[in-house]
């Protein structure tokens, strides 16, 4: 929720400053992220670009949020908050999985549970996909689907989180398809 709040605040600031606002992304559109990877959308999404990060939502970022961060290099943070975990070259997919959990803890999420996780290959590169369940500090339950790929010593991450069950489920199958279509460039 802290992460959500930070993102809400970031989005609000961007709008106030007259910077990038939301853009509508049409279905079946190929989206390239930082020349690192691409994927195809499935339905209309609202997209907000903020620095190196991309935030996507259907109903509002407090309800469901997909963040996309590409080309994370050795020693760089995997998210835009102060206590974000740091990616290191040579991390195994298992260590990447641990890192995502650490990052959830750092954003004050509680009772984190890994519902499912498995290693994947994408375009010949190693990666992982995992689904988490957690509660924010107010006891609201969220689920999160995360897909990461390491290519050329850089990590690309797609993370989708939403309030269970309605808001999470509303975007989940679309996100899963987008994740499957995720290809390193």
């Amino acid at each position: 929720m802290k992460m959500m709040k930070q993102m809400v605040a970031a989005a609000a600031l961007a709008l106030l400053a007259g910077c990038n606002g939301y853009a509508l992304v049409k279905p079946e559109q190929e989206v390239k992220i930082a020349d690192a990877f691409s994927f195809k959308t499935t339905q209309e999404w609202n997209r907000l670009k903020q620095g190196d990060s991309d935030f996507w939502t259907l109903d509002g970022i407090g309800l469901q949020l997909m963040s996309v961060k590409a080309g994370i290099k050795d020693g760089e943070k995997i998210a835009d908050h102060e206590k974000a975990a740091v990616y290191k070259n040579g991390m195994t997919t298992l260590e990447l999985l641990e890192m995502i959990k650490t990052d959830l803890v750092a954003t004050d999420q509680h009772n984190i549970e890994i519902l499912d996780s498995r290693p994947i290959k994408s375009g010949g590169y190693d990666g992982f996909i995992a689904e988490y369940r957690f509660e924010n500090k107010d006891g609201l339950e969220y689920k999160s689907l995360v897909r990461g790929i390491v290519h050329d010593d850089k990590l690309s991450l797609m993370r989708y989180s939403g309030l269970t069950d309605y808001y999470y489920n509303r975007g989940r199958s679309d996100v899963e398809q987008m994740m499957v279509s995720m290809q390193p460039l």
């Binding site: 206590k83 641990e98 803890v105 509680h110 890994i114 499912d116 290693p119 107010d138």
Partner: protein
């Protein structure tokens, strides 16, 4: 809670009522020697006599009128308490709550029924007391206390804030000071800025006197309850070393620190404790009951600390637990986890040695080592190019935890090795 205090003072907001807290026990890092700061203690015949008025300034069953400022704060705290009761981090384990409450009641006696203790699953050394009798105790605090007397140190300190109405007194002082500041800063530029700094310093100074009084009253409460007050200085020494090793820069702000200066505090606590004990019988430390009650929770508490990534602070905590002979298998395992995740030069070797020590301790005691130990040893072996050793450790892990959530990852790595 020091951070909270700082923000609240800056904003002059009402929530400062919550901030009479122990973690405020965080010292100023830049003022501390890295060796933990040996403090020379006076001989028994040179002890300064201690006069402490530990009488509560409120009656049992006290509740202020709602028409007063104090009544208003109680209502706010009551609402906060309602929200806390559904908080995800609240530890609902009845045994653990009953144990902490038991120690509190031994200190508070008749006032026990006026205090509600909430154990909150959060890392870090912290506890807090609200004026309406709401006490929060973090699991990170429970991890750090070595015995019941040290737990009583913190609970007694918090209780003293309640007895002495520190929160509301502090709030009134802040309100009056901020009113004065508003007057002084009217159209005065630099003079106004200077006045503001002086005024905020005054607030902080007032809070230091609260903390000193809470220390002194807390020791008397411990003593009266039969706990050894000497454990207070021991605990403070531990916390001081931990914060000196922490990466958290917020702890380094010395001007606004809300507690007495670190070394002076240790010296004062020791002096007071020896004065209280000068003629009296032996007091209790009660190490065994605390260790027994906390043993089932240590692994989850340590996981929470590890997830914070404050490796310097955790290293001190684990070192102290090791020195005290506490949970050797877990301590060695988490030292391994700390070094593996920190990944500084030489850390992989340290991690491997710690994991192997954990395995050895487990064999000696005929208990199970955490299954994650073999996964971690496999990962280290893989990084060191020792594929055969990695394979053996991963297979051992899968044997112990075939349904682990990461079993597919381990199997993939085994395939890659073969």
């Amino acid at each position: 809670m020091w951070m909270k205090m700082k923000r609240l003072i800056a904003a002059g907001t009402a929530l400062s009522v919550l901030s009479a807290c122990v973690a405020s026990t965080q010292p100023q890092q830049n003022a501390l020697p890295t060796d933990g700061g040996q403090v020379s203690m006076p001989a028994l015949d040179q002890l300064e006599p201690v006069e402490v008025n530990s009488t509560p300034e409120l009656d049992v069953n006290y509740r202020p009128k709602v028409t007063t400022d104090e009544g208003g704060w109680w209502m706010k705290m009551d609402r906060y308490e309602e929200s806390l009761q559904t908080h995800a981090s609240l530890v609902r384990d009845e045994d653990l709550n009953a144990y902490v409450r038991g120690v509190l009641c031994r200190l508070a006696k008749d006032y026990c029924k006026d205090i509600r203790v909430y154990v909150v699953r959060k890392p870090g050394f912290n506890a807090s007391m609200a004026p309406n009798g709401l006490m929060e105790v973090r699991t990170g605090l429970l991890l750090r206390v070595e015995n019941e007397a040290q737990l009583a140190t913190v609970l007694g300190h918090e209780l003293a804030h309640y007895y002495k109405l520190h929160s509301i007194k502090n709030w009134r002082t802040q309100r009056n000071t901020l009113d004065a500041m508003a007057f002084l800063t009217l159209g005065t530029g630099i003079i106004g800025l200077g006045a503001t700094i002086i005024a905020l310093g005054g607030l902080s100074s007032y809070s230091r006197s609260n903390e000193a009084e809470a220390d002194a009253v807390g020791l008397v409460l411990m003593d009266q309850a039969g706990y050894d007050p000497a454990e207070a200085a021991m605990l403070w020494g531990k916390v001081k070393r931990e914060y000196a090793a922490s990466k958290d820069a917020d702890m380094r702000n010395s001007f606004f620190a809300s507690h007495p200066e670190a070394q002076q505090r240790e010296k004062t606590l020791d002096n007071h404790a020896r004065w209280l004990k000068r003629n009296g019988p032996e007091r209790e430390i009660a190490q065994a009951p605390l260790r027994q009650r906390l043993a089932p929770y240590l692994q989850s508490f340590l996981e929470d600390e590890l997830a914070q990534g404050d490796f310097g602070a955790l290293e001190v905590v684990l070192h102290d637990m090791e020195e005290a002979g506490r949970a050797p298998v877990l301590v060695a395992y988490f030292k391994g986890e700390l070094y593996r995740k920190r990944g500084d030069e030489g850390d992989l070797e340290k991690a491997r040695d710690s994991y192997l020590a954990a395995e050895e301790y487990a064999k000696e005691r005929d208990v199970d080592a955490p299954s994650g130990l073999y996964r971690a040893l496999g990962l280290i072996s893989l990084k060191e190019g020792e594929q055969e050793r990695a394979r053996m450790n991963f297979e051992q892990y899968l044997q112990l935890a075939p349904d682990a959530h990461d079993a597919a990852f381990i199997r993939q790595m085994l395939e890659q090795i073969s």
